[in-house]
């Protein structure tokens, strides 16, 4: 056992953090800077980070869940407004189905907890393409058939929207026509979907860790600089204790999220999902507290649109719901570990 980064992982972490710092938004106004967002999207694409879970030619992913989580966490820390988790998850699903992957997203069920299911001809329910790139207009739907599952393609017809100002959510209509995926594909097994689910839990947890790290950085800096009663507000114990607690929650989240990202490729499918659920439950609760603390410490300004704190909170809200919030994870953990069936159909 040695949970430290390898030299390659440490280098990836350094590079991803540097890129996210240089090209992520430094202010809320920066979110409207189209030149910057284009440069950010190009830099992330050119680094090859969107393809980390694509097929390396042998059926394995180009990189592990750990590497994918390292990139996602770095982007979350600067609320980088670029699609990353969405493309990674689409690439992972396409790889498992041996589908020639070409810049499609994944349709999620309205609860955002799992990939939307369809029939041969059309989608069964309204769905959402989460964190899809601006130029993506097709998305995978999971279609059950006799031998397991296969993928079909739905057109994304809704306009970009959602609470998160940094990642795009687009609606897909109920009954949307499905097109067959062109290339020959392998049937997805329940284990495939479980591992893919584990990746989703790990990446959304990693994003939440990044969000916590980033929002704490700006909040600690603000507390050291903002003065009241002639002294920095960060010198007051009442404020210090809020921030210390938030930092501690971030550190605990980081430990549990690291394990979930490692588990994706290294534990059995059920154990990988459970590791993801444990991480997501912890990170979701922690991130909510940390982001709310950040807004509180920023005071009145923290409640204005111009303060980045709400951009972090909004991002946390999407990452929390995507693949299920803490309550959803606890529900499954208690069903799996305690045998309780309450609240589950």
């Amino acid at each position: 056992m040695d949970t430290r980064d390898t030299a390659e992982q440490a280098e990836l972490r350094r590079a991803a953090r540097q890129l996210a710092r240089e090209l992520g938004p430094a202010t809320v106004a920066d979110l409207d800077d189209a030149t910057r967002t284009k440069r950010l999207a190009a830099a992330v694409r050119d680094a090859g980070w969107l393809e980390l879970r694509d097929d390396d030619g042998s059926g394995s992913p180009i990189a592990g869940g750990v590497e994918a989580a390292i990139v996602v966490e770095a982007l979350g820390a600067t609320v980088a407004d670029v699609a990353c988790s969405g493309p990674l998850l689409a690439g992972d699903l396409a790889r498992r189905a041996r589908v020639e992957h070409d810049n499609a997203a994944v349709v999620f069920a309205p609860t955002l907890v799992d990939a939307a299911r369809g029939t041969d001809a059309h989608t069964n329910e309204e769905g959402y393409a989460v964190d899809c790139g601006g130029d993506v207009d097709l998305a995978y739907v999971v279609v059950p058939d006799g031998k397991g599952y296969r993928l079909a393609l739905a057109r994304i017809d809704g306009a970009p929207g959602g609470a998160d100002l940094t990642r795009v959510v687009r609606r897909t209509s109920v009954g949307a026509e499905l097109a067959a995926v062109p290339a020959q594909q392998r049937h997805l097994t329940p284990d495939d979907l479980a591992r893919w689910h584990a990746l989703g839990l790990a990446l959304t947890s990693a994003d939440l860790v990044g969000v916590m790290r980033g929002v704490l950085d700006i909040t600690v800096a603000y507390a050291a600089e903002r003065r009241q009663y002639g002294v920095p507000i960060g010198s007051f114990q009442a404020v210090q204790h809020l921030l210390a607690e938030a930092h501690t929650l971030m550190e605990g989240s980081s430990s549990v999220a690291l394990h979930a990202s490692w588990a994706v490729d290294n534990l059995g499918p059920e154990a990988a999902v459970e590791a993801g659920r444990v991480a997501k439950a912890y990170c979701a609760r922690a991130a909510r507290t940390v982001c709310e603390t950040a807004i509180q410490v920023h005071g009145g300004i923290g409640n204005t649109w111009e303060c980045l704190a709400h951009v972090y909170l909004r991002r946390a809200l999407l990452s929390t719901q995507w693949f299920g919030d803490d309550g959803e994870q606890l529900l499954h953990l208690r069903r799996d570990r305690l045998g309780g069936t309450d609240g589950l159909s």
Partner: protein, 377 residues
């Protein structure tokens, strides 16, 4: 990054697993019964004689010089077998190793690690809790000895201790942090009075008060230099805050395992919120287990976490109190009608975790100023 056992770790785990199956003393949950504390010494020597304690410490002192992460395996296996946690004394070993002379280390570490010598820690006083440096116990030089006078409190296992790791004031005309020195004081002498404390869950065998009235300690038993006591104390308390040093993950996981077994035996009897409390306690305990994996991995390269111990102490406290709350939730009305209810005792004991080893408020002060770099007024 790899959370898996290496071949050597897997071999160790299998050997340990078999040993515990043979040697589990089946003691009650540590925090709830005097029997546990009374038989702790037996468990310590059994674990040590089996070759499973002091895993990362030098062979010269009875350790095994294994990588730090072997303690993760020890905690995991103890928890899954429902065995008592490992003895929590790594912080004293760290204190003596860091500040003691070779003579002090050779003399005291082997007995401390093997469990042949029992130790207690005399730091806190009735008027020196969070403000430890204001302590008033004095050590006055008298020839080759020092004479100890004062009153210590929260001295765990003082009634069974052979030695006390004592912090006392040796100089009076210097700032309060600079006049302290540390000593290994024999508990077997006149001039020492024991007064056990009864804690809110009823146990009497863990915490005590110790009154020193003319007790004597040879000058050669000083640990560190004269006036170095504060630094020695800070080394000890920073490690006393580390769950990786204390092995408490095993205690929490053992309780959560018991709660899960209870609920599984009849889930229909529990409301959703009660089951959520257990699921959350599991999430918290797993978080701490993985956090300890991370910390002990970082220590493979000798990283000293310093103020990071305060982060770990806060995490550990939240975990212990989540576990205590889950136990109380599952027990339901029984904890209110039965004074001997184990869940009641676990819950009540868990409230001490945010005080012992430095209050949560002190930990937050340390995190805010030394890790986050916030200004002090």
């Amino acid at each position: 990054m790899d959370f898996r056992d290496s071949p050597a770790e897997a071999e160790f785990r299998a050997r340990l697993h078999a040993w515990i199956a043979e040697n589990n003393p089946g003691l009650p949950t540590s925090s709830t019964a005097d029997e546990y504390w009374a038989r702790q010494a037996e468990w310590h020597t059994a674990l040590y004689d089996g070759g499973f304690f002091g895993l990362s410490w030098p062979k010269r002192f009875g350790g095994h010089e294994l990588p730090t992460v072997f303690d993760v395996i020890l905690d995991e296996e103890l928890a899954s077998a429902g065995a008592p946690p490992r003895p929590s004394l790594g912080y004293l070993v760290q204190g003596i190793s860091t500040h003691g002379s070779d003579a002090i280390k050779d003399r005291f570490l082997p007995g401390l690690i093997s469990g042949r010598d029992r130790w207690c820690q005399g730091f806190s006083e009735p008027d020196a809790g969070s403000d430890l440096a204001s302590l008033r116990t004095t050590a006055t030089r008298d020839g080759d000895e020092y004479v100890i006078d004062g009153h210590k409190i929260w001295t765990s296992y003082s009634d069974v201790a052979d030695w006390c790791f004592l912090l006392a004031r040796t100089e009076h005309d210097v700032p309060k942090h600079k006049g302290l020195s540390a000593f290994a004081v024999s508990m077997h002498q006149p001039g020492i009075e024991q007064r056990p404390l009864r804690m809110i869950n009823g146990i009497t065998k863990e915490f005590g008060q110790v009154l020193f009235d003319g007790a004597r300690v040879p000058a050669e038993n000083m640990i560190g230099a004269p006036g170095e006591g504060w630094r020695v104390a800070m080394t000890i308390v920073s490690h006393e805050r580390e769950p990786g040093e204390l092995g408490y993950v095993a205690r929490y996981a053992k309780t959560v395992n018991q709660l899960e077994r209870t609920v599984r035996a009849g889930p229909g009897a529990y409301r959703a919120d009660q089951m959520d409390a257990v699921a959350w306690a599991h999430v918290q305990t797993e978080m701490l287990r993985l956090h300890v994996c991370r910390r002990l991995s970082e220590r493979l390269e000798g990283t000293d976490h310093g103020p990071g111990g305060s982060v770990d102490k806060l995490l550990m406290t939240w975990v212990e109190q989540s576990v205590g709350a889950a136990d109380l939730a599952i027990s339901g009305p029984n904890a209110a009608v039965d004074a001997d209810d184990v869940a009641l005792k676990v819950y009540l004991y868990s409230r001490a975790q945010s005080v012992m080893g430095g209050t949560s408020q002190i930990q937050k002060n340390i995190v805010a100023t030394r890790i986050l770099g916030l200004p002090t007024t």
